[in-house]
Each structure stands twice: as structure tokens, then as C-alpha cells.
């Protein structure tokens, strides 16, 4: 039975929903002829800096096109993902369902990425991953509408093994946090180092996110390896570098790592980081005209120094520009859009790279040494390093 009160509450609810914007996007979309870009990035918390860098890099690629995509105006929507995996799906849905974005750009945290990935696979919306290295996104769960412009977690360490063998370090200890990114980094290291003829004499793991390394450093000293290879990032990386140095190990044992070991923590690590060797797809000090121009333009535009995250965001922007130009800004023309983006070669500040069949960059890995508080490129550890893309079936 419909009472007067029912009618009233229902219309009130409908009005309320309309005013909060639940119904508005459909209207807005019908009227506007803009490309709708959604950023789902961390704007607060530990990864806030990374999110900001990615967004700036992305905007720079668009600004090089006069701020347009395929000749069309661009409209931006932003959601702070808070690096909270529990809200990953919900936040991605906000952008896809409420804001009706044509493309979703995000994110940093691998756990959150899995939420985005679920939504991307279900809705078919174009998804560009500017950082998260979680491998399944471009392996068993790869999708035609999901592209990564950063790296897979095992990629930097894949190139590490040969560089270590070239330097005569035949017996190594591996150490990382006991979590998925650490395990994926180990997978790359194991494959690369064993193939180059090296032996991993022990694999050590610290519970994530514990930073009590002392016990395992003692263990490393007892094992007497030629070298130690590791994967740590952020505050834990700085602490590991300092502890390794303070324990006196850096005098006798060469420390290697995935590039994130020395990204953004060099000031905090101080002298403890000197001489540490890492492999990664970028370095601030990369001495190429392309990188120099990028860095100069970036500083001019944003009054801030770019980092690896800016580059990854910039390349996500470049990739979208290529796709959007091919379809004249009509991102709903998916077959033509994907055709333009598949197998593309991106002229990046990190050097030219190509998109693999599984939508992950095939890129050079640089060998870098920390010299006077800077990641100095001392060579190429691996040419055109590709992720295996194991189990990926596009369809």
C-alpha cells in the first residue's frame, strides 16, 4: 500500500540521491564531449608523494598535447585511494560508476591495484597502471583493457644476477620482507642469478613490515657470502642500509638490490648507502638528451624535481595520448584504441621501451651505484628485459 509518507520519503531519497550526484553523471555525459580521466592514487599517507609525482608526470604528457586528448578537452576526476586495499574496489567503482570515467589511472599499492583490476576486468574500462608491480595483473589475470607503464616486481631483480656474476660474486644471500612483492622480487632474482651461474646459499625473510634486521645480519655474517641481494623500500630500506653498514658488513660484503632500495631514501641512509649497487629501469642521473629535457620541462612546470614515479606517470600519459590520437578522442572505440596501444614503442625519459603482449614494458635495466648520495648509472644490467607474462591469455 502506498501511503503519503512513503511517497514523501521516496521522493526525498530520490532528490537526495540526485543532489549528491548519483544521477548527474549520465546527464553530464550526454551534454559534454570531453574525455573523462579518473585518477585513483594515494594523496594522503605514506605514499602521498608518489601519487603526486605520478599525477604531475601524467599531466605533463597531456600538456605537451595542449592539454587535450585526441583533440578533445579533458575532464579529471580524483579519488584518494589512501593505500587501503580494503577500499580498493569501492573507490574504483566510484570513478567508474559514479563519474563514468573513460580511463582509470592508478595506483601505487599492489593490494589496492587488485581492487582496481577487479573493477577494470568487470567493467572493461581502460586501466593504466603507473606503478604497482603486482605480477598477476599482467600474467594470469591480464586483460585487453589493462596496461602497465611501470614494471613487474620481478623485472628489476631479473637483471641483477648477471651484473653480480660479472663482478665475480658467485655466492649470494637473498633477504627481503616476507610478503608478495618480496616473493616476486625473489622470483626474478632466482631466475636471473641461477641462469648466470650464481648460487643462492640462503634465502632470508623478515616478517613484513618489521624493521628488526639485526638477527639476520648476524646470520649473514656467519654465512660469509660474496654478496647480499635484497628487496626493501621506503623507511625499511633506509633502516636496512644503515643496519647493514653499522654491523660492519659493508666492508667485506657487496650489497645489491632492486632499485627501490635506494630510491628516495639516500638522504636518510647517508654514508651507509655509498657503493650499494642496484638495478632499475630509471635513474634521475640518466645522461640522455631525452631525460635531461624531461627533467628541465618538469621543473619548469611544477617547481619540483621529477622521480621514477613521475616518469611512470608521464609514460602512462604518453600511452594514452597515442591511443586517444588514433581514435580522435573517442575512447569508446575500443578495438581501434587497443590496436593503437598494443605493441607500442614509448619514447620515455628512461629510454625507449615497447609494450609486451601481456601489456607490461619490455625495458632496459640500468646498473646504478650510489656515489656521493646519488644513484649514478654505471651501465646497463639488462637490455630489453621482459616479464615472462606467464599464463596470460588475452581475450
Amino acid at each position: 500500500m502506498t501511503t503519503r509518507r512513503n511517497v514523501l520519503t521516496r521522493s526525498a531519497a530520490a532528490l537526495g540521491a540526485a543532489s549528491t550526484g548519483l544521477f548527474l553523471p549520465e546527464l553530464a555525459r550526454a551534454q559534454s564531449d570531453k574525455v573523462r580521466v579518473g585518477f585513483m592514487l594515494p594523496y594522503t599517507g605514506t605514499y602521498a608523494q608518489l601519487g603526486v609525482s605520478i599525477e604531475k608526470g601524467f599531466l605533463m604528457a597531456l600538456n605537451e598535447q595542449g592539454g587535450k586528448l585526441g583533440g578533445k578537452e579533458v575532464e579529471f576526476f580524483k579519488v584518494d585511494d589512501e593505500s587501503n586495499p580494503a577500499k580498493g574496489v569501492e573507490n574504483a567503482n566510484l570513478l567508474v560508476q559514479r563519474d563514468k570515467v573513460d580511463v582509470l589511472v592508478g595506483t601505487v599499492h599492489s593490494g589496492v591495484q587488485m581492487g582496481i583490476h577487479k573493477v577494470a576486468r568487470e567493467s572493461g574500462v581502460l586501466s593504466l597502471i603507473p606503478n604497482a608491480g603486482v605480477q598477476v595483473a599482467t600474467r594470469a589475470q591480464c586483460a585487453p583493457n589493462v596496461y602497465r607503464t611501470s614494471f613487474s616486481n620481478s623485472q628489476p631483480t631479473l637483471a641483477l644476477g648477471k651484473a653480480m656474476m660479472d663482478r665475480g660474486h658467485k655466492k649470494a644471500v637473498w633477504i627481503t620482507w616476507n610478503y608478495s612483492a618480496g616473493a616476486e622480487a625473489l622470483e626474478g632474482f632466482e631466475a636471473g642469478y641461477t641462469a648466470a651461474g650464481g648460487t643462492i646459499i640462503e634465502k632470508l625473510a623478515v616478517p613484513f613490515p618489521s624493521v628488526e634486521f639485526q638477527a639476520l645480519l648476524t646470520q649473514i655474517a656467519a654465512l660469509k657470502p660474496d654478496a647480499v641481494a635484497c628487496f626493501f623500500a621506503g623507511g625499511g630500506a633506509a633502516k636496512f642500509l644503515r643496519d647493514f653498514h653499522a654491523a660492519g658488513l659493508s666492508k667485506t660484503i657487496q650489497l645489491y638490490g632492486s632499485g627501490f632500495l635506494t630510491e628516495g631514501v639516500l638522504e636518510a641512509a647517508g654514508p651507509a648507502a655509498e657503493g650499494v649497487l642496484t638495478t632499475m629501469h630509471y635513474s634521475d642521473s640518466l645522461d640522455t638528451p631525452r631525460n635531461k629535457k624531461f627533467r628541465l620541462d618538469y621543473v619548469k612546470a611544477f617547481k619540483a624535481q621529477p622521480d621514477v614515479y613521475s616518469v611512470q606517470g608521464y609514460d602512462a600519459g604518453q600511452l594514452l595520448v597515442i591511443g586517444a590520437n588514433a581514435v580522435k578522442g573517442d575512447l569508446s572505440n575500443k578495438s581501434a584504441l587497443y590496436a593503437a596501444m598494443n605493441g607500442v614503442t614509448i619514447d620515455s625519459p628512461r629510454g625507449k621501451w615497447t609494450m609486451s603482449a601481456a601489456h607490461n614494458p619490455i625495458q632496459d635495466m640500468y646498473l646504478r651505484e650510489v656515489v656521493k648520495g646519488e644513484n649514478k648509472v654505471i651501465g646497463i644490467a639488462g637490455k630489453a628485459v621482459a616479464d615472462s607474462g606467464a599464463g596470460c591469455r588475452m581475450g
Binding site: G45, P209, S210, Q214, A215, G234, G235
Partner: protein, 287 residues
């Protein structure tokens, strides 16, 4: 594992355990005497570390930084007790959890606004910037021994304060029977303010002392907090002696499991906690 290695790991365990004790002591006092569940305890550790970094970058002297930081932290704790905590003594534990959980967010954001989200480091004071050679390729940093000594000293001081002084007597009496103590004319509110400020001070000093060995970064308080709760629960809520024994046990189990049984290292301390609670549901030293 050879004997020398074993001894060094023992040293590592004790050092880690003593640092944990510094943190857990404040938590257990606040919990046991005032009945306040303080989830923000870990952020005081983080704030301490940031204070150490901030002051050393101005004065270039860790000792001055620690003295200044400790005073500031105690004053801060006092103000916090006066403003917020005292209104929650008689409230449900859930209300206290909500309050202190909110405080975590506020302190994190304040830190972010004041000092940013970058990773920082504090230099080890030149005086202790050496190492003792233990084996041919392993040396033990002198500063870690200093940390152990400072923590052990504070533990002793705390013990003397609580068991030998008049103030300690009042604190113990207040914990044992609040109404009776009040009716004897002892100002229990004042005692509570002191205990809370002392707890905040201890956590901050732990953060400051640890800053040179642990780099200073935003999330450093949260993982430590969980370990503190484990220590408090094992030791028995409110018992400082229990916290000391439990912290050393946790240090031992954590260190040796990392080395000998890495597969279960992540949960070893929780297994220890479960085992203790099986036989002593109130913790080892529940008074």
C-alpha cells in the same frame, strides 16, 4: 649455530627486548593503573623519533635533543591527559579505543603537516659512533649497547620509583583500590596525570633513543604498537616487572625464530602469547 653466533644473537635479543620494554612499560602502566586502553602509544614513539630528528638538525647534539624532547613529550602527555584522557577513565573501553584511535590519525596528520612524509635519519653521536669487532666480518655497533644501557637504566629507575618511593606507593595503592586511596586523601587525579605523562615520556624517549639506529619514517609507530600489546598481555596487564620479563622473552623468541625457524618467524611471538595465556590466562605477573 656455533657458540659465538649464539652469544651474538643473545645480545641482539636482549637489545631488542629492552627497547620493547621501554615502550611496553608506559603502556602497561596506563592500562593497569588508569584502565585506559591507549592505541596512540605507538604514535608517541614515532613523534619521539621525529622530535629527535628535528632537534638534532637544529642543535646537532642528540643528548640535548633527548632532554628537550623528553620534557616536551612529558608536557604534551600532561596536557593530553588534562584535555581528553581524564574524561574517559570511567567510560567504556570501547570509547577509549575510539578516542585513542582517532588520536593516531590526528598525530599522523599533524606530523605530515609539520614534517612531511619523508624518511629521515639521525646521526649516531660521534662519541658512540664506533663498533666492537665480534667475529672476522661482524662488528657490533657501540650505539646499540648504549641503547641497551639506557633502557636498562630506565627500567631500574622505574622499578625504584614504583617500589621504593612515596609516589610509587601511591601509584600502587591507586591501582589496587581507587576509592579507598581517594578516601585517604590522596589526589588520584594528580597521580593519573603523572602516570600518563610518564608513559608518553617513556614512549617518546624510546623513539628518540632508537632514532639513530632506526631511520625516522611515518609508519614506524604502528608495527611497534602491536608488539607492545603482545608484551603487555604476556607480562600481565599493569605489571612493570611482567613487562620486562615479557619483553625479553619476545626479544628472544623473535630473534631466534628469525634465524632458526624463519617459516614461522612472523607468528612466533603470537604463538608464545597463546602458549603463555593457556597456562596463565591473566599473564605472567598479574598482580
Amino acid at each position: 649455530m656455533d657458540f659465538a653466533n649464539f652469544l651474538i644473537q643473545l645480545l641482539n635479543s636482549v637489545q631488542y627486548g629492552l627497547l620493547l620494554f621501554m615502550l611496553a612499560a608506559g603502556l602497561t602502566l596506563i592500562f593497569g593503573i588508569m584502565g585506559v586502553v591507549n592505541l596512540a602509544h605507538g604514535t608517541f614513539y614515532m613523534l619521539g623519533a621525529y622530535l629527535a630528528w628535528f632537534f638534532t638538525s637544529h642543535f646537532d647534539n642528540l643528548l640535548i635533543a633527548i632532554v628537550l624532547g623528553a620534557l616536551l613529550a612529558v608536557a604534551f602527555g600532561w596536557a593530553l591527559e588534562w584535555l581528553l584522557i581524564r574524561h574517559f577513565y570511567k567510560r567504556d573501553h570501547l570509547d577509549q579505543v575510539l578516542l585513542t584511535f582517532g588520536l593516531i590519525y590526528i598525530f599522523q596528520e599533524a606530523r605530515s603537516i609539520l614534517w612531511g612524509d619523508d624518511v629521515h635519519s639521525v646521526a649516531v653521536p660521534a662519541m658512540f659512533n664506533g663498533a666492537i669487532q665480534l667475529t672476522e666480518n661482524l662488528s657490533y655497533p657501540v650505539y646499540r649497547l648504549v641503547v641497551s644501557a639506557v633502557c636498562a637504566g630506565l627500567a631500574l629507575g622505574l622499578y625504584l620509583l614504583i617500589s621504593k618511593t612515596r609516589l610509587g606507593m601511591k601509584i600502587r595503592a591507586g591501582a589496587f583500590n581507587r576509592e579507598m586511596t581517594e578516601s585517604l586523601g590522596i589526589n588520584i587525579r594528580f597521580i593519573h596525570a603523572i602516570v600518563f605523562a610518564m608513559g608518553v615520556g617513556l614512549a617518546a624517549v624510546a623513539g628518540m633513543v632508537a632514532a639513530p639506529i632506526s631511520s625516522v619514517y611515518p609508519g614506524m609507530g604502528s608495527s611497534v604498537l602491536i608488539m607492545c600489546f603482545v608484551v603487555v598481555v604476556i607480562g600481565g596487564i599493569g605489571s612493570v616487572r611482567g613487562a620486562l620479563v615479557a619483553a625479553l622473552m619476545v626479544g628472544l623468541v623473535d630473534t631466534f625464530c628469525k634465524v632458526l625457524l624463519p617459516e614461522i618467524a612472523g607468528m612466533a611471538v603470537y604463538m608464545l602469547m597463546a602458549a603463555v595465556l593457556l597456562f596463565k590466562p591473566e599473564g605472567l605477573f598479574k598482580s
